[in-house]
Symmetry: C2
Subunit: 190 residues, 2 copies
């Protein structure tokens, strides 16, 4: 019999999400999370550098997107490569119900929302490096990525509200919406 229960990190993550959900982020202390998971406060900090990170340690999405971009057909425009990669992100959002719980908890607390933005920026940085490896100039890469992420946010927001459609379909739809908004206004006859 093992001396300790296994998967200490996973226990901490689940305990934290539960507690944040029921009593809020601010009102749950690290010591409480650790106790719930059967560990000490100090052990919590061995797995996570700070209290918020317990909801953000997962690097799967970033890795997936970078891999998708790196594997993209070289004949694709950088922009197209990004959009197709972002359209496959639903493969990562697997337990959809877990994703929704997590989003609610994050939206309910400014400190968590802050960390969420940083994580998105980290993904953008990683994608920028991937595009640069494809030969895109750094400034342009960052710009294209910002736009692609805007499209992805639009699509994901719709996807969470009405899950019938594929994420990639919604991405294409948002891209079309962008073209429409950006296009010079319909010529006015005067």
């Amino acid at each position: 019999m093992p001396r300790w229960e296994s998967d200490a990190q996973g226990r901490l993550e689940r305990a934290a999400l539960d507690l944040f959900e029921t009593q809020g982020f601010e009102r749950t202390s690290v010591a409480q999370i650790a106790r719930t998971a059967g560990l000490t406060e100090r052990s919590f900090y061995r797995y996570f550098p700070d209290k918020r990170e317990v909801l953000f340690a997962d690097k799967k999405l970033e890795a997936h997107l970078v891999a998708q971009v790196e594997a993209a057909d070289p004949s694709l425009t950088p922009f197209e490569a990004l959009l197709t990669a972002l359209g496959t992100a639903d493969e990562i959002f697997r337990p959809r119900e877990f994703l929704l719980r997590r989003i609610k908890v994050i939206a309910a607390n400014p400190a968590l929302a802050e960390r969420d933005l940083i994580k998105l920026a980290d993904i953008a940085d990683a994608l920028a490096r991937a595009l640069e490896r494809r030969g895109v100039e750094p400034g342009a890469a960052r710009f294209i990525i910002d736009v692609a992420i805007a499209i992805s946010r639009r699509a994901t927001s719709r996807w969470l509200a009405e899950p019938e459609a594929t994420l990639s379909e919604l991405v294409a739809q948002a891209a079309a919406e962008l073209c429409e908004a950006v296009a010079p206004p319909a010529p006015t006859v005067h």
Copy 2:
């Protein structure tokens, strides 16, 4: 003679920027900032809710942008209104040298970068409300704003590197760059 020196908040802001610049954000304590400004730590927290906010209390940019959007010609596309508003942001970035110091300090510390992203998101929220007042549907408003901010970031980044050009010129240039990237790829003859 006043009982206390005037402009306590400004003194705190200047002291903080100086200290963050010379010894870093983490290594300067709130007590030290307050002492440098001739106040106590407790008084610091009367002006700023937390240590980072001392660099972000300024609401002028957000107010300016919202006012610009609200004053925009009703015949303009929401997207055009946003871009012209963002093109006038250089009116707010007045002591350019101060802006550069601040950007460097923020970039040097993840905690400050985090707060910076939240402030940008706050501006985006305020702009979304302004667009909704113009009749734009909320989801679409947020999307257009995300794209416009991407353009603005591209333009501002260029503007900081080479200040000859007007910000609004650079915004137009970035918008053109977007159209090019988004446009369907040149038809391939086969």
